[in-house]
Symmetry: C2
Subunit: 160 residues, 2 copies
């Protein structure tokens, strides 16, 4: 990895640690090593993850945390706006770090489980219309597209 990217990552880690500290101070909650370890593990990598992924990675680095503590602290990090939670289908929830990214939506490739991100302003336009039509306040939305890679076979089919 390029040196500047490493430095960038460290700077970001420092920032999110401070965000967490500020949050815990404000809420009068304790600054436990587990909380920082979980946050750092999340911000050290770039992918979506689930509770088991995180638990396994921390354990393999010899940091002992229980799944219960991870669950508890993921809720805390959500409240601190440091991560977002997704329920792609039934089964385990997925999470992603959120502090440096802007709001986006997802495509789930159902064959591989891959997750793609996109940002389309038209969703905000739809949202605005819905708010007006129903006279409501929309606080959040969830939008997922489910699909598969366009394979050669499919292209052939089209020609036929």
């Amino acid at each position: 990895m390029h040196t500047s990217l490493v430095l960038e990552k460290e700077k970001n880690l420092k920032i999110v640690r401070q965000v967490l500290t500020a949050y815990l101070d404000e809420k009068g909650q304790r600054k436990t090593p587990e909380r920082y370890a979980i946050l750092e593990e999340i911000y050290a990598t770039d992918h979506h993850f689930n509770v088991d992924d995180l638990h396994f990675k921390m354990r393999s680095k010899n940091f002992r945390v229980s799944r219960a503590t991870i669950y508890n602290n993921l809720d805390l990090l959500i409240d601190a706006k440091l991560i977002r939670k997704h329920q792609f289908d039934k089964g385990m929830a997925h999470y992603e770090k959120s502090y440096f990214d802007r709001q986006h939506d997802h495509v789930i490739l159902t064959k591989t489980g891959e997750v793609l991100e996109f940002c389309d302003p038209r969703i905000q336009h739809i949202k605005k219309t819905i708010e007006e039509v129903f006279d409501i306040n929309i606080e959040s939305h969830s939008l997922y597209f489910y699909g598969t890679r366009q394979r050669k076979m499919d292209v052939d089919k089209k020609i036929t």
Copy 2:
């Protein structure tokens, strides 16, 4: 209720019964009374429902079905395109009849649990764009807006 609406409902019931029969014939599956009773209960009312709602309603009409059978047959009805399933959050899944309605999306009012439906063509436009950008095939999507009714209080706040 107006007589023509009652007649309309009966006509529709007849249609969906036939659709189910055709499906079961095609798949070589058995025409059990439970299957028709579940279908009819669903098409007799106009709201979203969950497994417990349905179970309770059928039992209170003295039709004994197990929850397991309901689960099994809801999957079957989904496959027959007679109903759709929604996972609004964690917790119980919701279902809705689908045969006479066209595809639509939902607004969930988080305070009351109310569900509103809407149809906005711009989602299809977004879908098309995403398919082109990522070179994928999108098979389905799920879009939910979460919000609350605009209450008088909120309006007052705005003025302040």
